[in-house]
């Protein structure tokens, strides 16, 4: 966990008072909506179909049990008893009243949570690997660098009015769980031949109406130069990024139009001016931030405790363990992913009761710490293996032991037309129907790893372009239709999916996805060949034939 210092606490408290005054002036008529809109957006407050929506940041996906309880409190007291975890390590409340927002913000500030960097044309919440600090083989904890970037970008005057929003993601593991290649700047932490920490810097990734995979602009930037180098990138973007057309304003368009080589030259030139400025990170500064992260004192535990050996005879436990439990860097401990994708449930939603209960379980079994992943699931990062059977039973009691992590029903979905004012079509009911179709765990196990991503519009909050199966809702003559892509992925081998054919109406989507999955089962070379690998080997044509032969 990271402990905020006095500067952070003051900043958050001052932001609450400032927003309280702004809301008061808005409700008295002193501020018009035109004047107020940017102010509310700077505090994560959107206006959606039914109500205001309040987006709260969970920087690099790390939460304490105390913070999770406070999110539950906000859900219960100011909203309708639940929250929605998003694809960028935020949580959203869908029904909040403007008049209640200052109080909600104040309640969150007491535990060091805020909504800065969750909206607007500035740097957004810096995201990272939800297994940061505990993943085996990790170079070092990427959250230290995420926090450096968070401090550097928060309220940065030069970058508060960028041409468009700007997103960072950082990973320090070989397997990319932070989807860095679909971010404006992606950072892969690694060490050079001298053993020094630095970053491969990628730039210009993003989804939306112009999906592009980020390109490497520099294979190694020393850690001490991180801020000056990203500042150089952002300066070039701020200077040349288009402001005349919202759809052409992201850095990916600039990189694409200039070409990565030309863009890199511009950045290099800018960097030489500022490389040796105050932006150079002193070792003491990095150490100071590192020292504010606290880590559990792990016990010396056996690799295979008796409790786990006994529980292995229970097939239900084993099914959950196989899909939810991952290796930890410390012997005797595990990382437990908690699926927020129950059969028939809205992906990513958790009730206040579940959040409270999970906070208690985090205290009992995970040193009071919870993680939030971009797949819209949660994780307990430090669970002793001997506690796994007891934890599983406790999770099951609160509806959080669905054994489907990374399987076909572990669906990523945006709120879609049920909530979102930008959406053209619904996402959640499609996800719900698919989880019912694939509810049989034996079938899901047979299918293996398969990621379905659903977006209700081209803005792609459900990351449909990089789903193994992507589903995009569109509107045709007032009806909901869905385009299906296959072959996308968001990890270190990130690729965009390929459209398999004409869009299909709402009530045919689940049938089509079943056809795609059945085609895969028939086409895969071996039972171990994953869906994504079969698509890579064969292309989309066999799937297209299967889906459209009878349509």
């Amino acid at each position: 966990m990271y402990a905020y210092d006095e500067i952070d606490r003051t900043l958050i408290d001052e932001r609450v008072s400032e927003f309280r005054d702004q809301v008061k002036r808005r409700l008295s008529g002193e501020l018009t909506e035109d004047e107020f809109k940017m102010l509310r957006l700077q505090n994560g407050v959107y206006l959606q179909l039914h109500a205001y929506m309040f987006r709260v940041a969970i920087p690099y996906g790390t939460l304490s049990s105390k913070q999770l309880r406070r999110l539950a409190h906000v859900a219960r007291r100011y909203d309708r008893g639940y929250g929605h975890f998003t694809t960028r390590q935020n949580i959203q409340f869908n029904w909040i009243k403007l008049a209640d927002l200052p109080d909600a913000l104040a309640d969150l500030a007491e535990v060091g949570i805020h909504s800065m960097q969750t909206s607007g044309n500035n740097t957004r919440n810096v995201t990272s690997d939800q297994w940061a600090g505990v993943a085996p083989g990790e170079v070092e904890d990427p959250r230290i660098w995420s926090e450096i970037l968070r401090q550097y970008t928060t309220l940065h005057p030069e970058f508060s009015f960028l041409p468009r929003k700007f997103k960072f993601a950082i990973t320090a593991s070989e397997h990319d769980r932070a989807a860095i290649k679909i971010h404006d700047i992606g950072l892969r932490l690694h060490k050079n031949e001298q053993g020094e920490t630095g970053f491969e810097v990628l730039v210009g990734g993003g989804l939306g109406r112009t999906p592009l995979i980020a390109k490497t602009i520099r294979p190694f930037v020393h850690g001490r130069d991180l801020l000056s180098y990203v500042e150089a990138i952002m300066r070039v973007y701020n200077q040349y990024g288009r402001r005349d057309n919202i759809y052409k304003a992201r850095i990916k368009i600039l990189v694409h139009e200039l070409g990565i080589e030309k863009f890199a030259e511009e950045v290099e030139e800018e960097w030489q001016h500022i490389r040796n400025s105050d932006l150079k990170l002193e070792a003491a500064t990095i150490e100071d931030i590192r020292s504010r992260f606290t880590y559990p004192t792990y016990a010396k535990l056996p690799h295979m405790p008796d409790e786990l050996r006994k529980a292995a005879h229970d097939p239900l436990f084993e099914r959950w363990r196989k899909n939810s439990v991952s290796p930890h860097k410390v012997q005797g401990y595990s990382i437990v992913t908690i699926s927020l994708k129950p059969v028939g449930g809205p992906p990513g939603d958790a009730t206040a009761e579940q959040m409270d209960a999970l906070a208690d379980l985090a205290d009992k079994y995970s040193f009071g710490e919870i993680r939030v992943g971009h797949e819209q699931n949660l994780a307990l990062p430090h669970v002793a293996k001997h506690d796994l059977p007891a934890l599983w039973k406790a999770l099951d009691k609160i509806g959080l032991a669905t054994p489907n992590v990374n399987l076909v029903s572990d669906i990523i979905a945006c709120p879609g037309l049920d909530y979102c004012s930008l959406a053209n079509a619904r996402s959640i009911p499609i996800a719900q129907e698919l989880t019912r179709r694939f509810a049989n765990h034996d079938t899901a196990d047979l299918i293996g790893r398969l990621h379905i991503n659903i977006s209700g519009c081209i803005n792609a909050c459900g990351h449909h372009h990089v789903g193994h199966i992507g589903i995009l809702g569109v509107e045709k003559n007032g009806e909901e239709f869905y385009q299906i892509t296959i072959g996308g992925r968001a990890d270190e081998k990130a690729e965009l999916g390929t459209l398999i054919g004409p869009s299909v109406p709402y009530n045919e989507v689940a049938d089509v996805i079943e056809d795609v999955v059945e085609a895969y089962l028939a086409l895969r070379a071996t039972p171990d060949e994953l869906f994504i690998d079969t698509v890579k080997r064969l292309g989309v044509e066999p799937f297209r034939e299967r889906v459209y032969a009878t349509r």
């Binding site: 028939g344 009730t351 032991a401 007032g478």
Partner: protein
């Protein structure tokens, strides 16, 4: 962002003006008595561009009452009952099409 009043107004049938109430965001409809109602049945129905423009202008001017005003299509039943004219407006009028709370596994 272009003001709703500067945007080209196209209506193909009976329409109403809808927005979200400022203090809590609730869906509201502009009434014929220059107020707002949460009930679509109370909405003023317009059928031609000039009257739609006038109703929208009046709604936009009441910035303290509601925000984000726009013209939305409706259908008028045989009994004169007003119903939302598309899925988006049906969802706004009747709420989400899913259970609000997650289903326990």
């Amino acid at each position: 962002m272009t003001s709703p009043l500067e945007q080209k107004i196209r209506i193909t049938g009976p329409s109403v003006v809808t927005a979200n109430r400022t203090w809590d965001g609730t869906v509201v409809y502009r009434t014929a008595t220059k107020g707002w109602s949460t009930d679509l049945a109370d909405a003023a129905v317009v059928r031609a561009v000039p009257e739609a423009r006038a109703l929208l202008a009046e709604a936009v001017a009441d910035d303290l009452g509601a925000v984000g005003a726009y013209i939305a299509p409706v259908e008028i039943g045989e009994s004169g009952k007003i119903a939302p004219g598309n899925l988006r407006e049906r969802i706004r009028a009747s709420g989400v099409t899913i259970d609000l709370l997650p289903v326990p596994a």
